[in-house]
């Protein structure tokens, strides 16, 4: 569309314009009234209803980039990825790519197009470097793309700005470190410990750390870590059995025996669940290893 300059045209044109303005005004009133009605009618719209609503609005305002972005997100949430990407593209053409970078980046991540996702999320982060959602998704995209180093940089940035990070993020970061050449379990353990510094000694992270210690045959270190969970796990039968298993590995059989006896007494007082049945089997196997 070529914008007209003020003062162009004659009287007929001005009358035409006045008429158009009146018509536009009426249309606008009708549109607003309809939108207000729709806002009441669709207070809890399904995605389909929401998309229909947005499509109707786009017919009235076909150059509205924000509406295209909204519909793109709705399409993305409904799994209509091709339509979502098309709307994102239109929105970017009309309003600039920065307006769609975060949402399109998240969609591209979900579609497995990790490099494109990282590009979009990077654009967003250039403007909003502390945006936790963008940091999280770019870290994940980098992880999936096999760029562990870049993923770690983003996770570290995320941990720096997020007051209460989900323990799952630390697990992700530790897993990346486990898989990175040259990093080994040492750095993964450091990451898990850093997580526990922030969120406390939680089993999600300490269990992973124990597994890494056992994998490296650092049984004493695993025992130390397992003991940190005693209070949190209440010294229950599974904790006792697991500790006994580790103690046997470091030839502390007498103490292992005490923990197995305690686990046995605990299990005796509890109704049998499938998990406890497995625990009993494990306990009996360990007792057999200890001998009479």
């Amino acid at each position: 569309m070529t914008p007209r300059r003020v003062g162009e045209g004659g009287g007929v044109l001005r009358r035409e314009r006045r008429g158009l303005r009146v018509a536009g005004c009426v249309a606008w009133v009708v549109l607003v009234a309809w939108m207000l009605w729709a806002s009441q009618a669709a207070a809890h719209p399904s995605l389909e209803e929401w998309i229909s609503t947005l499509s109707a609005r786009l017919e009235a305002a076909p150059l509205d980039a924000a509406l295209y972005r909204e519909r793109a997100v709705a399409y993305a949430n409904e799994g209509q990825s091709a339509r979502a990407l098309a709307d994102f593209e239109t929105a970017a053409e009309l309003g600039g790519v920065l307006g769609v970078a975060l949402d399109r980046g998240m969609l591209l991540y979900k579609l497995g197009r990790y490099d494109e996702a990282r590009r979009d999320l990077g654009l967003h982060l250039q403007r909003f470097p502390r945006d936790v959602a963008a940091l999280e998704y770019r870290a994940r995209a980098a992880r999936e793309a096999g760029d562990g180093a870049a993923a770690l940089v983003d996770f570290e940035a995320l941990f720096a700005v997020e007051t209460n990070p989900n323990p799952g993020h630390y697990l992700s970061a530790a897993q990346i470190l486990e898989e990175m050449k040259g990093a080994g379990s040492g750095r993964a353990l450091e990451m898990l410990d850093a997580g526990m510094q922030k969120v406390g000694p939680v089993p999600q992270l300490q269990r992973r750390a124990i597994a890494l210690e056992v994998k490296s045959e650092h049984y004493q270190a695993a025992i130390v870590r397992l003991r940190t969970l005693e209070n949190g796990l209440g010294g229950g039968p599974d904790w006792n059995i697991e500790l006994a298993g580790l103690l046997i590995l470091v030839d502390q059989e007498a103490e292992a025996g005490r923990h197995l006896a305690e686990a046995s007494a605990q299990l005796e007082g509890l109704r049998l669940t499938p998990a406890r049945k497995r625990s009993l089997a494990k306990l009996e196997a360990l007792q057999a290893r200890l001998g009479p």
Binding site: S39, A43, H44, E78, H169, P203, G235, A265
Partner: protein, 557 residues
């Protein structure tokens, strides 16, 4: 049985309010400097030895005592400073309390009628042995309870029999029942479309409770979608704090995250359209209320509530308020996060690891799990995986219904979870006693997945069909799953979403349904009573009538 005036019906409330008001006025005149009543006042993490009082209003102290009158006597009550926390809430952590005792409290010099709470019983855990957890606010330097040290503030031997103002409590009456009220998707008081419907459900509970002994409520559980449509702070005020004001100042509220707690996600609403509940993000930091005029300062749900992250009330530390657990007497409650954590594989795996650790160390008689997205539903949402993933109308919003079913219900089977409650669908649906069932509706095989009665049919949980924790298999391996998202509205059938509305084959047929379907399109809530020998669940409608119930008998340990 412990009686409380609060729940003996409206007459009781009115009577007690009038009586208490006199004393409250006396207190306010003679007590601390006057201030405005808190706009919201609620209890969190009530444990055997402590509690958190949260409010929004004037700064000040929370003062508490075993006797009401002591609150107005200088030096007789203990006081704790309120600390300003997220969302402009003040928070006072009270420690050193005795289990199963009633405490009266004032907030910033204000004392409303019924401002008292009862501490939790000590955690009752089977299996003996040592055990570090289960205390609750009782550990650490501030954890010494009056049990350990009856100091001069101990009111047990106080001669002042002065709590004769309507707040009678039999302090030493040790009943073993844990009395729970569960509401799901109750947040319609803020949506402008369902006026009075959530209040009707609340009043139905009051009526039921008054007619059944008026037992004090021990736990108030919310299944998410607490404040429609975007979970804004303003909506929480109307849908939670105004609606349940009388309950919240006496009973700790616990919740799980619903889709409507997550605002509009990344969809700006321009103030005209409301796209609340459509977020599929796994990141609470992506919360947006859609109003471009106000910056989003975080997810209001997480700012409002203070849930345990470090096993403060007896569960295993989770490190996050998004999912957590706690003990209350013989009951262990787990709140999972099906809205955020469940959407990211790594976070979901962490939640699974935590859940296994939590349940494997759980030695309570009863285990209750809550999360928003139900694993089996033919209500306003459809839990079948083909309906969720079928193009072009894939429904990623509801995908947690499948992931939770596939990845978490086997854990419930394994670790003896008794009951699971979800919302999301705005109806009531209650399952048979299920195990080993991770498939869609079409995959349900009663002979394999349900506990059968003597006639070889799925047992209903009533009469001779009452469930026992240890089933015919010889193991505690089955769970009752209930959809209770009907506390704010009851949605009609939408054939495009659920062709077989309320006909999920693993759900029990409902006699109260006019068409005999396996669910109820009726507003209501759930009352759960977990006693020493049995757990009873009842669905209560807005008239206080019981429309469905079942019983699980505790197996001898």
């Amino acid at each position: 049985m412990r009686l409380s005036f609060e729940f003996q019906g409206r007459v009781g409330i009115a009577w007690a309010t009038a009586a208490c008001s006199v004393f409250a006025m006396i207190f306010m005149v003679t007590g601390s400097a006057s201030s405005e009543p808190a706009s919201r006042l609620f209890l969190q993490q009530v444990s055997p030895h402590g509690a958190i009082v949260k409010w929004r209003g004037d700064p000040g102290q929370v003062c508490y005592a075993r006797k009401f009158k002591k609150l107005s006597r200088p030096g007789k009550a203990r006081c704790v400073d309120g600390i300003l926390t997220e969302g402009n809430h003040f928070e006072a952590q009270i420690t050193g309390l005795k289990p199963e005792k009633t405490y009266f409290y004032s907030v910033a010099g204000q004392m409303e009628a019924g401002q008292n709470f009862q501490t939790a019983p000590k955690s009752k855990r089977r299996g003996g042995g040592r055990g570090g957890r289960g205390g609750g606010h009782g550990r650490g330097s501030h954890g010494k309870s009056h049990d350990d040290d009856d100091d001069d503030h101990d009111d047990d031997h106080d001669d002042d029999h002065d709590d004769d103002h309507g707040d009678h409590h039999d302090d030493d009456d040790d009943d073993d029942n844990v009395h729970m009220w569960i509401v799901g998707d109750s947040g319609t008081a803020s949506d402008g479309e369902h006026p009075g419907e959530a209040a009707g459900v609340r009043d139905g509970f009051y009526a039921y409770n008054a007619a059944h002994g008026g037992e004090r409520l021990d736990l108030f559980l919310m299944l998410g979608d607490n404040a429609y449509t975007k979970g804004t702070d303003h909506e929480f005020q109307a849908a939670v704090f105004d609606l349940y004001r009388d309950i919240l100042k006496q009973t700790a509220v616990w919740s799980t995250i619903g889709n409507h707690e997550m605002g509009v996600g990344s969809l700006p609403a321009f103030g005209l359209f409301d796209a609340g509940g459509l977020s599929v993000s796994s990141d609470p930091g992506s919360y947006s209320d859609g109003d471009p005029g106000t910056p989003d300062a975080g997810m209001p749900y997480l700012d409002i509530f203070s849930f345990p992250t470090a096993g403060e009330v007896g569960g295993v530390p989770s490190g996050t308020e998004q999912y957590y657990s706690f003990d209350h007497g013989a009951v262990h409650v787990v709140s999972l996060d099906s809205q955020l954590t469940a959407r990211d594989p790594a976070q979901r795996e962490a939640m699974r690891t935590w859940l296994i650790a939590d349940l494997s160390s759980n030695r309570s008689d009863w285990t209750v799990v809550i999360f928003h997205h139900p694993t089996y539903s033919y209500g306003s949402h459809n839990s079948d995986s083909d309906s969720l993933l079928m193009q072009p109308f894939a429904n990623y919003l509801d995908l947690p219904m499948v992931t939770l079913r596939e990845e978490f219900t086997p854990i419930f089977d394994d670790y003896g979870v008794d009951v699971v409650y979800g919302g999301h669908s705005h109806s009531y649906e209650r399952s048979y006693y299920l195990g080993g069932y991770t498939g869609d509706a079409v995959d349900f095989d009663p002979a394999v997945n349900a506990e059968l009665n003597s006639a070889g049919e799925p047992a209903t949980g009533n009469g001779p069909d009452k469930y026992t924790q240890v089933t015919a298999s010889g193991l505690d391996d089955k769970t009752v799953y209930t959809v209770a998202g009907n506390s704010g509205k009851a949605s009609s059938a939408n054939p495009a979403i659920t062709p077989n509305f309320l006909q999920f084959p693993a759900h029990v047929p409902q006699a109260a349904d006019p068409e005999g379907r396996r669910g109820l399109k009726v507003r209501g809530s759930v009352v759960l009573d977990a006693g020493e020998h049995r757990l009873r669940a009842r669905m209560i409608d807005s008239d206080g009538a019981v429309l469905d119930e079942f019983t699980i008998l505790r197996s001898d340990d």
